[in-house]
């Protein structure tokens, strides 16, 4: 076993442990911090697979934006120090186990069916190539995704914004 294998197994173990801690901890902020560890380990795994761009996107978008907004949202509304009893849920433990095991089973089956034991060796993703493919072959899905984001943006504003005309009347 080479050094890189040992390192990968160590990372996978870390990923598994922090993933479990995200679910089991009874403090929202701790859960978010463990989620950062999970995402960071995933980013390192992507770097080991020489997919640097994906790794950096994971850090920039998920750690830098999603987790930060998550922490911001939790802190601005309610985040008591210490454990939060509401977060422990004793109901439906059996169902949860069944569902998570079946998802694990489905993913494993699909991955084994698709790749079997063939090793795919890539030359590493060139960012230039990725950009060209995104704006030529995949231009339609790319634009579609941006429309989904635009829809989410407009929806968010509509839900959050009070009607100005009505508000003025109330205030007067």
């Amino acid at each position: 076993m080479e050094a890189i294998d040992i390192f990968s197994y160590f990372l996978l173990l870390l990923l598994l442990l922090s993933g479990v801690k995200v679910v089991t901890t009874s403090n929202v902020i701790h859960a978010a911090i463990f989620l950062v560890f999970t995402l960071a380990t995933t980013a390192v795994l992507f770097i080991l697979l020489s997919a640097e761009f994906v790794a950096l996107v994971l850090i920039l978008v998920y750690i830098g934006a999603v987790i930060v907004l998550f922490l911001f949202g939790v802190m601005i509304t309610r985040a008591p120090l210490g454990p939060n009893a509401e977060l422990d849920n004793d109901q439906n433990k059996l169902m949860a186990a069944v569902i998570s095991l079946s998802i694990f089973g489905i993913f494993t089956y699909i991955l084994l069916q698709t790749f079997d034991s063939t090793v795919v060796i890539s030359e590493g993703t060139s960012t230039k190539l990725l950009g060209e493919i995104l704006l030529s072959r995949f231009v339609f899905p790319f634009e579609l995704v941006s429309f989904v984001l635009l829809g989410a943006l407009i929806g968010g504003i509509t839900l959050a914004r009070k009607d100005n005309a009505l508000m003025d009347e109330d205030q007067i």
Partner: protein
């Protein structure tokens, strides 16, 4: 040399350089503020004030670490680590010459944006775990500010990337040498100004120091910190100042290159040139800090969302059009 020895040497060099640069910038700030505001202390006390930064560091190192009762201890203790790790990590892509660089990443500029966003987590968790309303307010203000100013920071760099056709920092400098002019003259002047404003806001320096706001929030998100942990926050502010100014001089001011000097000696004068440009930019930011009052929270958000972001989007459009036309 094997990979691990090389890595070890690089890490040690970076870990030695970062505090030295922070010390230099602290001295520059103390002397600059004293010069601008006629403070006798840093100009005359202790070897004409040159001992000041070392005295500050020594003071914080010998202070007792106080941890308040109600804090969330692991989160509280590790919050400064996020900040300093993110800041020191950025040394990876600062080119002192074409070869004197930790690693010339293909995605250099993108790496900068990704890694610098991590420090927000440190600031937020520091504010929350302190169990203090002022700290929490400071942390929330900081997060709102960092989220808002990260966008103009990213968008202003995109113009440079389009013009240089590369994201590697060495590649961007080489492009400017090839072009004959630094990008600040050759089309990215607006982007440079936006970058500097956004970088100042990211560093939470005056006039963007609402999150710290001594007069209303004591010390913002690091009110409860003392001793070595306070020192880490303090020093990472100056390391961040160095890194941001070094990146700005690399992207916009031609980095390690100066005209008329022979390019084969770049390994000797390159580091000095880059550090010189960095300290010049840092001095401008220091001068701004000691002459301007603080922004109000709504003015700060308006500046980011209504002025800087549309302006940087326009800059990207203009650069892209120029790129296609010429």
């Amino acid at each position: 040399m094997s990979f691990s020895t090389e890595l070890l040497i690089k890490v040690l060099v970076v870990l030695a350089t970062a505090p030295v640069m922070a010390l230099g910038l602290t001295l520059l700030e103390v002397k600059g503020s004293a010069w601008m505001q006629r403070r006798p202390g840093p100009l005359h006390v202790g070897l004409r004030g040159f001992i000041f930064p070392l005295a500050t560091a020594a003071k914080y190192l010998q202070k007792e670490t106080i941890i308040p009762n109600d804090v969330d201890e692991p989160v509280f203790k590790w919050a400064p680590a996020w900040v300093i790790a993110a800041v020191v990590g950025l040394f990876t892509i600062i080119p002192l010459s074409p070869t004197l660089i930790v690693r010339d990443l293909e995605l250099g500029v993108f790496f900068l944006l990704a890694i610098s966003s991590i420090s927000t987590i440190g600031v937020l968790t520091a504010g929350w775990s302190s169990a203090n309303k002022f700290s929490l307010m400071g942390g929330l203000r900081a997060a709102g500010q960092l989220i808002a100013y990260e966008l103009p920071l990213i968008l202003s760099v995109v113009g440079v990337v389009i013009q240089a056709e590369t994201m590697s920092t060495v590649g961007i400098v080489e492009k400017q040498i090839e072009f004959g002019f630094p990008f600040v003259i050759a089309g990215q002047g607006i982007a440079f100004i936006i970058f500097m404003i956004a970088a100042t806001a990211e560093m939470m320096r005056t006039p963007f120091d609402m999150p710290i706001g001594e007069s209303e929030l004591t010390m913002g998100f690091f009110t409860e910190y003392s001793g070595i942990r306070f020192l880490i926050f303090y020093i990472s502010e100056y390391i961040n100042l160095f890194v941001m100014c070094a990146i700005a001089s690399t992207l916009f001011l031609g980095g390690y290159h100066v005209p008329l000097l022979p390019t084969e000696w770049v390994n000797f004068y390159g580091p000095l040139v880059l550090i010189g440009k960095t300290f010049l930019l840092a001095f401008i930011l220091i001068a701004i800090r000691w002459s301007f009052p603080r922004f109000r929270e709504d003015q700060l958000q308006t500046l980011a969302w209504k002025i800087l972001i549309p302006l940087s989007l326009l800059n990207i459009m203009a650069t892209a059009i120029m790129k296609v036309v010429f």
